[in-house]
């Protein structure tokens, strides 16, 4: 029996709203955005994301695909009620535009989207693995787990210090925090794949939660399997609609019925059981267009 309870999404329908950027702050290589998006924070569960339109509301936009961002935190801000915190890494034109916005800017936001992390039925030990900006959804998850009496172990990774989400706040919720950077500028030098086996062994985790690049998720899923732990992997695929309408985001999985099929990263995921994902196919597909 699975130790985690699959979340139901029935009553938590997403909203499409015009949001407002309240604050924006540079933290290392990222921009932290504070967003008012009426109704969205109230529906949030860890592992949900929002989809943002590129371009001001009402303006014609040349970029039709949505951009997805993990909900990092939900925080009340005086006079506005609960707000969303997003962590944006400015890479392409969409994220750069978003990172360049000034407070007061208005944005079209849809959310919360996606199936969130499944929570353990019992207060077991958990390992949370996050790399780069994708560590964002693990912090609210850590809090939720601690509330349920779970022991939380954290493994936070990044290319370097600038690409490391600060684990400072999480230390409250966590029993142990391991940090690994590719250049060794903070914590251990290396990749998640190099250390996850070890950390997992030490944590005695029954459930592993992971968010990051596909290769990292794969390594985590393999390690979990080896240790007899359940894994919940947050799979990022380029999303077009992010709402389950377009079938542009297929993830190859094996269903409960043992049948191989493709599910939608945005609507059936992004969080998927690590043992259900057909990683070889996913990594091949994502790497090579054909």
């Amino acid at each position: 029996m699975s130790p985690v309870a699959e979340p139901t999404t029935a009553t938590r329908t997403p909203l499409h709203v015009t949001g407002e950027l309240l604050a924006t702050k540079k933290v290392g290589a990222y921009r932290h955005l504070t967003l008012v998006a009426p109704g969205v924070p109230e529906r949030f569960r860890p592992g949900n994301f929002v989809a943002v339109s590129i371009g001001a509301p009402g303006s014609d936009t040349t970029r039709l695909a949505r951009r997805a961002f993990w909900i990092h935190q939900v925080k009340p801000v005086g006079g506005y009620g609960p707000t969303l915190q997003l962590v944006v890494e400015p890479t392409g034109p969409g994220s750069q535009w978003l990172a360049s916005l000034a407070p007061g800017a208005r944005l079209e936001v849809t959310g919360p989207l996606g199936r969130p992390f499944a929570l353990p039925k019992e207060p077991v030990s958990c390992l949370l693995v996050g790399e780069g900006y994708a560590a964002a959804p693990l912090f609210p998850l850590a809090e939720r787990l601690r509330e349920r009496g779970c022991a939380v172990n954290l493994l936070v990774a990044g290319a370097d210090e600038a690409h490391l989400l600060s684990a400072l706040e999480a230390r409250r919720s966590a029993r142990a925090v391991t940090v690994v950077t590719r250049d060794g500028s903070v914590g251990l030098r290396g990749e998640v794949a190099d250390v996850v086996d070890d950390v997992l062994g030490r944590s005695q985790a029954a459930v592993v939660y992971a968010a990051g690049p596909l290769a990292t998720l794969h390594a985590v899923a393999v390690a979990a399997e080896a240790h007899g732990a359940w894994s919940q992997t947050a799979v990022e695929q380029p999303l077009t609609c992010a709402t389950g309408l377009c079938q542009g985001c297929p993830v190859p999985v094996v269903g409960e019925d043992g049948v191989a099929r493709r599910v939608r990263a945005c609507a059936d995921g992004p969080v998927l059981r690590g043992d259900r994902v057909r990683w070889a196919e996913l990594l091949g597909e994502a790497g090579e267009p054909r």
Partner: protein, 281 residues
Amino acid sequence: MSIDLGGLTLANPVMVASGCGGTGRELAAYVDLHELGAFVTRTITLNPRAGGPVPRILETPSGLVHAVGLQNPGLEPFLASELPQLVQQGARVVVSIAGTTLGEYAELARRLGRAPGVAAVEVNLSSPDAVASGVLDVREPFHAANVVAAVHRELPRGLPLLAKVRPDLIRVVESARTVLEAGAAAVVVGNALPAAMPDGRPAGLSGPAIRPLALRCVTEVRDALPDAAIVGCGGIADEADARSFLAAGATAVQVGTALLHDPTTAARLARALTTDREVIG
């Protein structure tokens, strides 16, 4: 106050285009499906199709290039779960179909004709080639008409058939004429146009980028076939766009790509055009 589309009655002229409304479950968060003129399902084939490799969809200026490959669960699972769910939500359901042989088209028609809650069948005759690989090649109007005739023969009387033809100016009038002669109640003018992704892979282009091309095709079909029931489709994103198609002679419109960008689009358009006398009749 309602729209008559060759026998298909709609509360308003706004339809969700095939392949852009998911299963209907997802859209329900943003619009009551019964508020829409109609919901066209993704194209359903007899057997399940896994769809194409990734990346399936990329952005291009004011458009999307895509090669989803008609991913769908196949007819049986569709009838078992997707259709009942749409019916339950009060959607006016138009089922889009494609087949690999005339026999498959006939079988799809036969079985959909018996399924409760199907308001009409839309025959997809216009997938950009190489994107819907394996599906019967119906680029020649003559072949398209054969398909329509085969489907029409199997559908119960009173269940309207919509034929979706490619908005390709050279052949669109001939295509429209032949499918209407073969039994289509209305012609849907519009689909993604054959295009390439930046790396050269074949794909379809949709969205506001192609709107002026689709609009021209609607104009031509209207001029050539003054009595045809025409559904315009291609790049419609706001009320003004929809009105330009209605003014050009479309009786109804379908909205596709715009829904992927903003899932509330169809609801907004339906509301804007519902109580609108000038576009009705």
